[in-house]
């Protein structure tokens, strides 16, 4: 799939000296939902700010559908809708006028029919004449989305869209996002909720310390997650494995007191029964067994914490 947003060697150093982005390169594919996972202060918001024009990059380039976001900023920005993390809304204006303002600001001719569709889609139509300050937190967040959608963007950035949102509303938000994708909108969302990334994303990127640590398609990542570890505690430690067990690619752990067998849960057979038979035949007795499964969270924590964990 072609990249609709292409970030190349993006670096951002703030005047305070903070090195928020370090040589970040990332291609966002047309029509996908990309979830950027990262802890607080990882650089998620800075990356979005640099792409959308709120912050100036120290070096590197960003193109949106082929348009450079500095030299050809009008064409680039026209394609982008941004839903910020904070609820930054003019409190005294009505919902309808607030979204009308956004549409006009992005150079689009008035089209109340489109705005009505957007507000209905976000269950805000009944509130169109209410002042923003009178809305609940969840509704305000949806007004932010409505503003971003008012000018019909091709790419939508959602910066932690469900932070501080209750479970019911979070699910509603996920439905809205998949609905938008069906309408051809490319979506980039940042989150630190792993289940959110799992529920919505086509690809998952992990950002930490201003660096992209990993970008993988979710299916591939889930396959990796589908691998389980079968740990066999032995009665006696073994120094060397018999040649008959070579095909199992067993790992010795805990000083030889444990053998670890990794298998694919989605494969045809696990091979566990055969392994146990072969172990018994080789004269190795198992005292106890257990299974372990790495989660996306484990991978995430490993990447974020650095190399110290196994």
């Amino acid at each position: 799939m072609p990249a609709i947003v292409s970030v190349k060697n993006l670096t951002k150093r703030y005047d305070s000296g903070t090195h928020a982005l370090k040589d970040v390169s990332l291609d966002i594919e047309d029509g996908e939902i990309l979830a950027l996972l990262g802890p607080n202060g990882a650089g998620k918001t800075t990356l979005i700010s640099c792409i959308c024009g709120i912050a100036s990059a120290t070096s590197g380039t960003v193109t949106v559908d082929g348009h450079d976001n500095v030299r050809d900023y009008r064409a680039a920005r026209r394609l982008i809708g941004l839903v910020p993390q904070e609820i930054n809304l003019e409190p005294f204006e009505t919902v309808m006028n607030t979204v009308r303002f956004s549409r006009g600001l992005f150079g689009k001719a008035p089209d109340d029919a489109h705005l009505e569709r957007v507000l209905r889609q976000l269950s805000l139509w009944d509130k169109k004449d209410s002042q923003v300050r009178a809305l609940s937190g969840g509704m305000k967040r949806r007004v932010l989305i409505a503003k971003a959608l008012s000018h019909e963007p091709k790419v939508l950035f959602l910066d932690e869209p469900t932070a501080g949102v209750d479970v019911g509303l979070r699910k509603e938000m996920w439905d809205t996002v998949s609905d938008l994708q069906k309408h051809g909108v490319t979506i980039i969302l940042t989150t630190h909720y792993i289940e959110e990334a799992e529920a919505m994303a086509d690809r998952i990127g992990v950002i930490s310390g201003g660096e992209i640590k990993l970008v993988r398609d979710k299916a591939g990542l889930m396959r990796e997650l589908g691998r389980k570890r079968f740990v066999i505690e032995l009665g006696e430690a073994v120094d060397m494995l018999p040649a008959a067990l070579k095909d199992y690619r067993l790992e010795r752990a805990a000083g030889g007191c444990e053998l670890v067998y990794t298998y694919d849960t989605q494969g045809d057979g696990t091979g566990i029964r055969r392994l146990l038979n072969d172990l018994s035949a080789a004269g190795i007795t198992a005292r106890d067994v257990r299974t372990e499964q790495s989660s996306l969270e484990d991978i995430f924590v490993d990447l974020v914490d650095g190399e110290g964990r196994s």
Partner: protein
């Protein structure tokens, strides 16, 4: 040119003025009427005419300038400071709009509001004093340019300010004294020699003088200087705003 963006900002800002019509229109009209009562009727009756013009009528151009300048600054500075304060400026910065378009939207809205107030005060003045306007076209030129240039200045103040106190600081500590000492309520020729010279360093003198000339044909300084002052001030403000947006000073990280 993203004219739609300018129009969107303009409309949004004008809507704010309509929501707060008491604060925006009624309050300056009331305070100016009080000036007329105090300076025009109560004190003015004890002050002799100034170059053939009754004191009440003499202060009208100065009073209009006083309101128009303070309103322009406060409207434009609040207009851009408020999005900064609540964070909605993200939308302006990420919009396909140039600095010129964003500035135009806010400044034109602020100037429209202060111009409306200026016109209302002028109409109010007709009820209090015997008013004549010798050069109506020049009067409009001075009024419009003053609204625009001080709205530009207010826009700069709004970007510079990092809290509400600073937002009030420049209008209160710098602009208000300059206006009061700028010949609003007197002709600088009434001042003792040295103070008349000192007053010439006050840019407001040139604006009030030019504006008063358009009413009564009398001026503290030559008309050319007044025009130069207003155009120079406008140009300076545009240049500063251009620099702010190019460097992103206080608006873009």
């Amino acid at each position: 040119m993203n004219l739609t963006a300018i129009w969107a900002i303009y409309r949004f800002e004008m809507a704010r003025a309509l929501r707060t019509v008491t604060q925006t229109v009624v309050s300056p009209v009331l305070s100016t009427s009080l000036y007329f009562v105090v300076f025009g009727a109560a004190i003015g009756s004890r002050i002799q005419e100034v170059e053939g013009v009754s004191y009440g009528a003499f202060i009208v151009p100065g009073l209009i300038m006083l309101s128009v300048i303070t309103q322009s600054i406060s409207n434009a500075s609040f207009g851009i400071y408020f999005p900064k304060f609540i964070g909605s400026i993200y939308e302006l910065l990420s919009a396909p709009a140039s600095f010129l378009e964003i500035t135009a939207g806010y400044v034109l809205a602020a100037a429209t509001k202060s111009l409306t107030i200026g016109v209302i005060i002028l109409i109010t003045a007709f009820f209090f004093v015997d008013l004549r306007i010798q050069h109506p076209v020049w009067m409009v030129v001075f009024l419009v340019l003053t609204c625009l240039s001080f709205s530009l200045f207010g826009f700069i103040v709004g970007i510079w300010a990092t809290n509400f106190e600073q937002l009030q600081l420049v209008p209160l500590l710098l602009v208000q004294p300059l206006i009061f000492l700028g010949g609003t309520f007197y002709s600088i020729s009434m001042l003792p020699g040295v103070w008349e010279q000192v007053s010439l360093f006050n840019p407001v003198v040139y604006l009030v003088s030019g504006f008063r000339w358009s009413f009564y044909g009398m001026a503290d300084v030559a008309l050319g200087w007044s025009l130069l002052a207003i155009f120079g001030f406008t140009g300076l403000c545009v240049a500063i705003i251009g620099l702010i947006f190019r460097t992103g000073w206080r608006i873009r990280d």
